[in-house]
């Protein structure tokens, strides 16, 4: 089976989680600090974070790390029109929206800041990633509940196959504020809501002029593995949700990015992710990395 996607960068950004403690053979990446939303400036630099919601900050951190940028740096120059953004998450702006509604009912518009205007729109996270890093290609905000990450992977693949972009930055992020956590408490999940983010930088596998990376084969929901994976992530194997909590709409991206780390950075060979509608087999591309 031909892998459809090539990941050239990835990150798992779960503040407060020591990834290395749960993993067999954890690489250096698993020891790296993941600053929380309030410490995002240590990675991103101080400028521009005012009124940015926690999920947006986490998403920016995850993209920053997946691109391998030095602290405080971001790409300069005009927007890159051939890089698309596919962002996945549901809860990023629920606290802002609830707070605005409460403020209006108690003190009218005096209690509302115009700085929150972008946050009233549910795509603020996707738009901010594009603006921060200069990604001028198609920009999608996928809000399909727990399946958002799986949908995001398939849409990233579609954008690349349809030649709408040469590169897709797939990012998932959710917060765990009190509004998000209360809403998440109404769904049947295997763990409580965990604030976190993850990112995969994706290209088409065929004809890619990139050496190394991770090859991702997207499989239909219930398809058998084309080869038996050495590690399976999900309810039937190592379950990130049970270990670290549920990143809800970002979980699919978290699991897929974790699979890339395990397969390439830690040399675990083929790593499968199977969770709900997500089924993907991740291996080091071109025989490199394990």
């Amino acid at each position: 089976m031909t892998p459809t996607l090539l990941a050239t960068g990835w990150s798992v950004h779960l503040p407060g989680v020591v990834l290395a403690e749960s993993l067999d053979r954890p690489g250096a990446w698993a020891h790296a600090a993941a600053p929380g939303p309030d410490q995002a400036a240590t990675l991103l630099g101080r400028k521009g974070l005012l009124a940015k919601e926690p999920a947006t900050r986490l998403a920016l951190c995850a993209v920053h790390r997946a691109l391998g940028l030095p602290p405080g740096r971001r790409p300069a120059g005009p927007p890159s029109p051939r890089t698309a953004v596919v962002a996945c998450g549901n809860l990023g702006n629920v606290k802002t929206v609830a707070d605005i509604a409460r403020a209006v009912s108690t003190e009218g518009l005096k209690g509302v800041s115009a700085l929150d205007a972008p946050n009233a729109s549910s795509n603020v996270l996707a738009g901010t990633v594009a603006l921060w890093f200069g990604f001028g290609g198609p920009n999608l905000m996928v809000c399909s509940g727990a399946a958002a990450g799986a949908d995001g992977l398939r849409l990233a693949d579609l954008l690349l196959r349809a030649r709408r972009a040469d590169r897709v930055v797939l990012v998932g992020a959710e917060p765990a504020d009190e509004v998000a956590s209360a809403l998440h408490g109404t769904v049947d999940a295997r763990g409580g809501l965990r604030a976190g983010a993850a990112c995969l930088v994706l290209r088409r596998a065929e004809g890619a002029d990139v050496v190394g990376g991770a090859a991702l084969a997207l499989l239909p929901d219930h398809a058998a593995w084309p080869r038996p994976p050495h590690v399976v992530l999900g309810p039937d194997g190592f379950d990130p949700v049970r270990h670290w909590g549920d990143c809800h709409g970002a979980q699919g991206v978290v699991s897929a990015a974790l699979a890339a780390h395990l397969a390439v950075d830690d040399g675990h060979g083929a790593v499968g992710v199977r969770d709900g509608s997500l089924a993907v087999l991740v291996e080091a591309a071109g025989g490199g990395g394990g």
């Binding site: 927007p79 549901n90 518009l109 972008p118 729109s121 603020v124 290609g137 920009n139 999608l140």
Partner: protein, 374 residues
């Protein structure tokens, strides 16, 4: 390459697609007193509401309008999602965030599963499994349309339902009220003295099939171009809009001068309308084009995520009937619109061949669709 619109269903303040088009041709304005939230506290007095006998009370209203359109469009296309795999893409700006606000204000329970439209779609269309909710602001429907065409062209699906729905949230109304000195009384797209945007409730669904699909079609989608400004969170950028237009023409293999009608985004805001005019001049007029320009938001308000599909429905009816509605609310064209031929005052009898449909959203997300007769 291209795709067919096998059927289209919309709901606006005027009713269904035929009722909406008739009202547009008459130059009517569907604005009325705001029936959601506290108008005085929000500094917003007017909304373009779908009648309550269609939409029901506000809880879950977007989902009900959506379900109505889904059932209507699928029935008219003769599609049976129980017998064939039909992915559904739903574009929305505000999802059901009004339910989150109700929960915050009154404690009314709000299951998280109702924030997106997956359950609504699966209930309305039994047999559907794949539902993607795209929260792409005011161009959500246009983005969904682009992806649906990609899916049928690549053979991923034989038919895709593209849908959209938006009603109102207190938080978005508050932001409109916050940036508006005086509450607006109606939307005046492209007017020199425009006073800003007002929300319209709306929903839409279209069935997209591949070329040569069975049955009649209401229009042919030539291509949709996409871009993100990556310029500013809320202010539109001419360069970003221009890129989405050029992307559409590149994908279509068509020349900008071929466009003879633009169904514009035209929100009546200080920033959108000048930027959209500049982009139209830069891409269409500079290439020798001289299209008629119309827009619907003066009549139906800004239907947010549904706006692109409402525009598409209007474009299809212009193609079919050979008549173009005027821009309701437009009195004197803004300076940046000089040289553009707006449909003003009266309907214009003309038979366009290639129609450009614009949709731009918060976050600088742009979708431009080229449509022609099927």
């Amino acid at each position: 390459m291209g795709a067919l619109v096998a059927s289209s269903a919309v709901r606006t303040c005027f009713g269904d697609g035929a009722q909406t088009f008739a009202a547009l041709l008459s130059g009517r304005c569907g604005a009325g007193p705001l029936r959601y939230g506290d108008p005085a506290a929000l500094n917003v007095a007017v909304g373009y509401h779908v009648p309550d006998d269609v939409g029901g009370d506000h809880a879950g209203r977007a989902g009900r309008l959506l379900a109505d359109c889904l059932v209507d469009a699928v029935r008219r296309a003769g599609l049976d999602p129980a017998r064939q795999r039909v992915p559904v893409l739903v574009g929305t700006g505000l999802r059901e965030l009004g339910g989150v606000e109700d929960w915050a204000l009154t404690g009314t329970p709000f299951p998280l599963s109702r924030l997106d439209f997956g359950d609504v779609v699966r209930t309305a269309l039994p047999g559907v499994a794949d539902v993607v909710t795209l929260a792409n602001a005011c161009s959500a429907g246009g983005h969904a349309l682009a992806l649906a065409q990609d899916m049928v062209e690549s053979g991923d699906a034989e038919a895709v339902v593209v849908a959209a729905a938006d009603t109102m949230t207190r938080s978005m109304l508050a932001m409109i009220g916050k940036v508006t000195p005086e509450p607006g009384t109606r939307v005046r797209p492209f007017d020199r003295d425009r006073t800003g945007v007002l929300l319209g409730e709306g929903a839409a669904a279209v069935v997209v099939v591949g070329e040569g699909g069975p049955g009649p079609a209401v229009a042919r989608i030539v291509a949709t171009g996409l871009s993100c400004d990556a310029h500013h969170e809320t202010s539109p950028d001419v360069d970003g809009i221009v890129r989405s237009m050029r992307d559409a023409f590149d994908r279509a293999g068509r020349a900008p001068s071929e466009v003879d009608l633009v169904v514009a985004h035209g929100t009546g805001t200080a920033l959108n309308d000048p930027a959209e005019c500049r982009a139209l001049r830069e891409v269409l007029l500079a290439a020798g084009g001289d299209p008629l320009v119309t827009g619907v938001k003066g009549a139906v308000g800004h239907t947010s995520g549904s706006a692109a599909l409402v525009n598409l429905d209007v474009a299809a009816r212009c193609l079919e009937h050979g008549v173009v509605p005027p821009v309701a609310g437009l009195r004197e064209v803004l300076p940046e619109g000089a040289g553009l031929r707006f449909a003003r005052g009266e309907r214009v009898a003309t038979r366009p061949e290639l129609v450009q449909v614009n949709a731009f959203g918060f976050g600088g997300v742009n979708a431009v669709t080229l449509v022609e007769a099927a």
